[in-house]
């Protein structure tokens, strides 16, 4: 293998969990598996530290590794990071130890296999976000399904069989057309290499259907209305760690795909279909929020809230301006942190109450102050309260939306209000609700603190000092935007020399 960028960090990040998964097979004691996976997770985090030396201002991909894979078919083992993927790789790696911690007592059966699934999952996540060969990307994209399917099907709730099957069928059916698009891109563009393809221009008619084929796969993964129905079932039935990975990483694969492939490879089609995508995003925001408001099952509520939050991300993507795209990327990160944390907390609550119903979690404020305090923080972050991470992202998306399309902005505002309504309602009944069912429960223990505290720190840190995260994103976003807009401008110059694609409205 030739690593043109020196030490193959990305390969190591993938191989370590896979090797650990094999090694875990040999471990006999269950406690040993937990400690081992935790240690691997921490080591993985340590190995990811060098990635922070990423230079956002440099164009192109960094930490590139390139080797022959299937030379006969022009497929390469090609990895690398840009600002878009760096954040997602870091998030994937960061979550592994937290997932181990939050499953410590939650998972009681087939412990070894559970941790093997987590490890394989982490490897696949790193692979998806760092693959620079289209086929390699697809391999990781699909490989992710198997451990996730098993996580839901084996360790899930009572209706796990239905939920896991639905999850698998939906996502795999969606991505079959992505495969066709990949093949077509090679036929038209002559390569599977993503950087190569990004440098090429494709005929508009080809772009349109390729966009639709890819967008279906991504929209199901996000999930956007009306392709979202697998999500609540999967979230509710999955164990906490499964929900965390699902919310924090898996859904982001969809939005990542939109940014990297739809915007990057089919810019004109992206513009052409932007009204459709914006419409679906707005519906997702409103529908997700409204449905979440009607839930009494806390996990289901957070699951529907994900549909709404991810709607903001897709809205930001299809605004084609700096604020929108940066906001979308910020929201991808924020949603990973906040919703991941909420699912962890719900898992902790479930261990105490053995219920997901709001009514069974009344009055925790008095007896579990630390739990409620942290829940409050994450709930505020989820509804986009100033001073928390989500505020920054949501504000940017909305600014971008108002700038590009007044209607899209105006219509998604109620989504933010709905988020406030369901989150505050849940928080109120959990904190002060009567009668209290929380008397006999213990507050957060050290292990739970250890899992949640880093996320809480991130919530506040990004909330107060978003500059650091944004600095790593902005150059990439700017380049992506320039790529999309120049391509489209060039193509449209002949017909519409002056008119911008989307009506610009100054807020």
């Amino acid at each position: 293998m030739t690593a043109s960028g020196g030490f193959p960090f990305l390969t190591t990040l993938m191989v370590l969990p896979l090797a650990a998964a094999l090694a875990a097979l040999l471990l006999r004691r269950e406690a040993a598996v937990r400690w081992f996976t935790l240690a691997v997770g921490l080591l993985e985090m340590g190995l990811a530290i060098p990635l922070l030396s990423f230079q956002p201002s440099l164009p192109g991909f960094q930490f590139v590794e390139l080797a022959d894979w299937v030379p006969q078919w022009g497929m390469h083992y090609h990895l690398g990071l840009d600002g878009l993927s760096l954040i997602m790789v870091l998030l994937s790696v960061f979550l592994l130890p937290l997932c181990v911690l939050c499953s410590w007592t939650y998972i009681t059966k087939r412990i070894k296999e559970f941790h093997i699934c987590l490890l394989v999952m982490t490897a696949a996540c790193v692979g998806v976000f760092s693959a620079l060969d289209f086929v390699l990307f697809y391999v990781f994209w699909e490989a992710m399904l198997v451990p996730m399917f098993l996580l839901i099907a084996v360790w899930g709730g009572p209706e796990r069989r239905y939920a896991s099957l639905k999850f698998f069928l939906y996502t795999l059916a969606g991505s079959t057309l992505l495969l066709v698009a990949i093949i077509a891109f090679r036929a038209v563009g002559g390569s599977f290499s993503i950087p190569d393809l990004l440098g090429r221009e494709f005929p508009v008619s080809f772009q349109r259907w390729a966009f639709l084929a890819m967008a279906l796969a991504f929209a199901i993964k996000v999930p956007m209305f009306p392709f979202h129905t697998w999500l609540p079932a999967a979230h509710v039935q999955a164990p906490s760690a499964g929900s965390v990975i699902l919310a924090a990483v898996l859904l982001k694969m969809g939005t990542y795909g939109f940014m990297r492939f739809c915007l990057g490879l089919t810019p004109e089609a992206s513009h052409f279909f932007a009204p459709l995508m914006i419409g679906l995003s707005v519906i997702s925001i409103l529908y997700g929020g409204y449905t979440a408001l009607g839930q009494t099952d806390l996990k289901r509520m957070v699951a529907y809230s994900s549909v709404g939050h991810m709607g903001f991300v897709t809205l930001g993507i299809f605004m084609f301006n700096q604020q929108g795209l940066t906001g979308a990327l910020m929201q991808m990160l924020n949603h990973g942190i906040t919703t991941g944390a909420l699912f962890m907390m719900l898992g902790a609550a479930y261990e105490r109450s053995h219920s997901r119903e709001m009514a069974d979690h009344m009055g925790m404020g008095k007896y579990l102050p630390a739990f409620m305090g942290l829940w409050g923080l994450f709930a505020l972050s989820s509804l986009g309260f100033p001073g928390t991470n989500s505020f920054v992202g949501e504000l940017l998306v909305l600014t971008g939306a108002f700038k590009a399309n007044l209607w899209a902005g105006a219509l998604s505002i109620p989504g933010a209000l709905l988020a406030a309504a369901y989150m505050l309602r849940a928080t109120r009944s959990m904190a002060w609700g009567q009668p209290s069912t929380a008397k006999a429960w213990a507050d957060l223990n050290i292990r739970e603190w250890t899992a949640l505290a880093p996320l809480a720190v991130l919530v506040i840190w990004i909330g107060f000092a978003p500059g650091l995260a944004m600095r790593s994103m902005e150059p990439t976003v700017a380049r992506l935007l320039e790529h999309v807009n120049t391509r489209t401008a060039l193509a449209h110059k002949a017909e519409q020399p002056e008119r911008p694609i989307l009506a610009e409205v100054t807020p």
């Binding site: 299937v70 391999v139 399917f149 795999l172 036929a187």
Partner: protein, 457 residues
């Protein structure tokens, strides 16, 4: 080399019992076949040639035969006294398939096909005291005989129109409907025999019944090796002669129908072998895509897919044979809780099922991926779409197998399959092969590419 297999097994018939030695002997033959990959030459005045294509398929057949023997070294459903005959017949059939891979003349091909088929007709009813087995055998023979007649008739038409039966010479003749209508009809009829072996719609009617009726180990053989032989011939003929536009369209339509009919029928099956039977009808459709695409890429991917199919189906049948060691047909509910009773086998099933779906990183995915990309842009893009949509349908029943194995509770204790001897090792190596070919297909693809190159004019 192929005769060696025959020799060993005739020995087992006449003299001392070979027992476990059978598996070792066939492993030796497989090793020889792999070592002979580089052999080149021609025999019998050009009727029989050793080239990259023949050696590629021969090695695959030998390896497959070895696995089949190892899976069922003492098949329960065959009477003790008939077991030597059973292995002898399977070996003769494999020999026929190997001859088929090397045949470069139509009559030789036909004879090799008959050698391969006749011994299978004899093996099919060997499942003792089983009416379905007898019925399956009768169906197999009757359908087979009908197709043989068609093939032979086609052969006579080709001979009449083109005055030669050598593939190399046939390749020089005109093959358009306008220039040689009789020859095209003849070729279509001739190919029917091989499409029958491949179980392509509408020549697939024998397939689910035979799978269901014959013994588990026999089904493992019938479902894999004859298809390789058929594919070898089809790759050779399509490569040398080429398909004219109408034939390609017809084959594309058959491929689409085969995938769809196979998958939809498999959706409702409870009997695992019958399910795999219908699934193999859909896989025949996938393999035919490579023939439709033609050219170096299409033929390479068809040959490559043949080997992937061999590996994944053998892995699936490994589980089928081991789940019901009493020789009965396993149903989906027999897989319940397999994870609990035999985690290793459950993993083999997982790898086989996901490979059959075509999910990365398994051999099934790479095989299917090469097929799809070879076909794209050759005027049959619609077939690619049909193929991927079919993948979406197929997920349901393959996933169902995994779901039964991993999420259901075992029905009754005591029914757990007991691991014995080298069987776990065999299962593990099949699973590793599936993942290995999926992750790093380049070496095998290189062989397939060399094989395809030989036959192209």
């Amino acid at each position: 080399m192929a005769a060696l297999a025959l020799l060993f097994l005739i020995e087992s018939l006449e003299f001392a019992k070979l027992g476990a030695l059978r598996a070792w002997a066939s492993a030796a033959v497989a090793a020889l076949a792999v070592l002979a990959l580089g052999q080149r030459g021609a025999l019998f005045g050009g009727c029989y040639s050793l080239d990259a294509l023949s050696q590629f398929f021969k090695a695959a057949v030998a390896v497959g035969f070895c696995v089949v023997v190892a899976i069922g070294s003492r098949p329960r459903e065959v009477e003790e006294a008939k077991q030597p005959d059973y292995f002898m017949l399977l070996a003769i059939s494999s020999l026929g398939l190997m001859l088929l891979a090397s045949a470069t003349e139509l009559v030789t091909m036909y004879l090799a096909l008959e050698l391969a088929s006749l011994s299978l007709y004899a093996v099919a009813p060997l499942r003792s005291e089983s009416r379905p087995a007898a019925e399956a055998a009768v169906k197999y023979i009757l359908y087979g005989a009908m197709v043989t007649a068609l093939s032979l008739y086609g052969l006579s038409l080709i001979m009449a129109a083109q005055h030669t039966t050598y593939v190399a010479e046939l390749a020089q003749k005109p093959w358009s409907v306008a220039a040689a209508p009789l020859a095209v009809i003849g070729l279509a009829l001739y190919l029917t025999g091989f499409l029958f072996k491949l179980a392509l719609f509408p020549f697939h009617f024998w397939c689910p019944d035979v799978y269901q009726g014959v013994g588990n180990e026999t089904a493992a053989f019938v479902s894999t090796l004859p298809k390789l032989g058929a594919l070898a011939v089809l790759v050779r003929l399509v490569g040398a002669i080429g398909l004219d536009a109408q034939t390609a369209d017809a084959l594309a339509a058959l491929a689409a129908l085969s995938m769809t009919a196979g998958n939809f029928s498999a959706l409702v099956q409870k009997d695992l072998k019958r399910l795999l039977g219908f699934s193999s009808v859909s896989h025949a459709g996938y393999a035919a895509m490579g023939l439709v695409a033609g050219g170096p890429d299409g033929l390479t991917s068809a040959a490559f897919y043949g080997v992937c199919y061999l590996l994944m189906n053998l892995a699936a049948f490994y589980v089928v044979c081991r789940v019901r060691q009493d020789g009965q047909n396993p149903t989906l509910s027999d897989l319940d809780g397999l994870y609990r009773t035999s985690p290793g086998m459950a993993f083999v099933l997982l790898a086989a099922a996901f490979s059959l779906v075509g999910l990365p990183p398994t051999a099934g995915f790479t095989g299917k991926f090469f097929l799809l990309s070879s076909l794209w842009g050759h005027g049959h893009d619609w077939l690619v779409i049909v193929a991927v949509l079919n993948t979406a349908i197929a997920i349901y029943y393959y996933l169902n197998m995994v779901r039964h194995a991993y999420t259901a509770e075992p029905a009754a204790e005591g029914a757990s399959p007991t691991p014995g001897g080298l069987a776990p090792l065999l299962g593990a190596s099949l699973a590793v092969c599936l993942l290995g070919v999926g992750l790093y297909p380049a070496p095998l693809l290189g062989l397939a590419q060399a094989a395809a190159k030989v036959v192209l004019p």
